[in-house]
């Protein structure tokens, strides 16, 4: 059976790749020259190096990673609610990879309650649904998103369920005028 692109790696080779990916997934000096406010963190237990990005640089930095460094897949957009945190309420994350190598990078930024984040949709199509879901469940708005509507919940839903101050049981009794009421 022909397997065109299969590349079985030995154990050592995999370890080598992982090590090199951890050390230099990208040209950090060039990146920090262009974005001086970006902080770099060495990979933690899970092997993901982290870039802490100010919100203003969010889209430009990820554009830089895509265009200059060849990160070609935006795996996921996610958000974490820290409710009372002084620096700002939400962590917004983007997991990027450079396929088919093992280079990977997590970008994090802080979005405060009333702020909106620049949308990544001009860079990656996967940001379309990813950001819609973050908006739907966390309530972070994205500037420049072409179609920022709720994606999982009904259109007339109130509140953002994944926020920490949203009760797990939700409203239970929905507005009787809603077609979703029962």
């Amino acid at each position: 059976m022909a397997e065109a692109g299969s590349e079985p790696r030995t154990e050592q080779a995999a370890a080598e790749v992982a090590a090199s990916a951890a050390n230099a997934p990208f040209d950090l000096a060039a990146l920090q020259a262009r974005f001086p406010d970006v902080a770099y963190e060495q990979p933690g237990a899970d092997g993901w190096p982290v870039l802490r990005v100010p919100l203003k640089d969010w889209r430009e930095l990820i554009a830089h990673l895509r265009d200059a460094e060849g990160f070609n897949i935006l795996l996921d957009v996610a958000a974490v609610d820290w409710l009372q945190r002084a620096e700002g309420r939400f962590d917004l994350l983007a997991h990027l990879r450079r396929l088919p190598t093992t280079a990977q990078i997590r970008c994090m930024t802080i979005v405060d309650g009333a702020q909106s984040a620049p949308s990544l949709t001009p860079l990656f199509e996967s940001a379309d649904w990813g950001e819609r879901e973050v908006y739907d469940l966390m309530g972070i708005r994205f500037d420049g998103h072409p179609d920022l509507r709720r994606i999982l919940l009904p259109d007339d839903w109130e509140g953002f369920p994944l926020r920490r101050d949203y009760p797990v049981e939700g409203p239970r009794v929905l507005d009787p005028a809603s077609k979703y009421a029962h």
Binding site: E169, K179, Y180
Partner: protein, 199 residues
């Protein structure tokens, strides 16, 4: 009642009984899969479980040709208008089976997204607990439903309007979902009318 008065044997029955006999032997479920339970519902028709033995293998994609709605999985708020509409499109008589813990009571998902029991939305005839219930359990439920139909359970296949009025008279939600979770296989059809006819 079969009678043999010396000549040609013949059978006496009422039209109603004959209709029920036909109904119970040709329960056509609606092809409506929701979640995990839908996969077990699909297993129901395969060789190992073979619901064709009980005349219930003809899954119909159109609600207009279906008798039985198997609510196979968690019902989420966004799905409520859909299943209501599907139920209304099914012709009388019709039955609803609540398959799985989520459909019976919300199951492990006591949260904002999941309706805490499909009986908040539709009149359920038979509950099948389990996460997911095995196909054998679903077969047992179909057998009980058949008994209920044969016994002429007046509650099987309520029109939707009546169901809504029953819903209004019911106890508050938490009490009801506990009750649903505690009573395995409690079907109105078997507890009230069909129970005696079994066996």
């Amino acid at each position: 009642m079969a009678v043999n008065n010396g000549g040609t044997p013949f059978i006496l029955t009422t039209v109603e009984q004959m209709v029920r006999w036909g109904q119970k032997n040709s329960i056509w479920p609606l092809t409506m899969g929701l979640a995990c339970c839908a996969i077990e519902m699909m297993s129901l028709v395969t060789a190992r479980f073979d619901s064709a033995r009980f005349g219930a293998e003809v899954f119909r994609a159109s609600p207009r040709q279906a008798d039985l709605m198997i609510v196979s999985g968690r019902v989420c708020h966004k799905m409520v208008p859909v299943i209501k509409q599907l139920y209304e499109q099914m012709p009388e008589p019709k039955w609803v089976m609540s398959m799985g813990s989520c459909a019976c009571s919300g199951g492990v998902f006591n949260n904002y997204a999941v309706v805490q029991g499909v009986d908040n939305v539709l009149p359920v005839d038979i509950y099948v607990p389990g996460c997911p219930p095995t196909p054998e359990q679903v077969l047992e439920a179909i057998l009980r439903l058949r008994d209920g139909i044969a016994a002429g359970d007046p509650k099987a296949g309520l029109p939707f309007v009546q169901a809504a009025s029953i819903k209004a008279a019911r106890a508050p939600m938490t009490a009801r979902s506990v009750e649903a979770a505690r009573a395995p296989m409690t079907a109105r059809s078997t507890t009230q009318a069909g129970g005696a006819s079994r066996g």
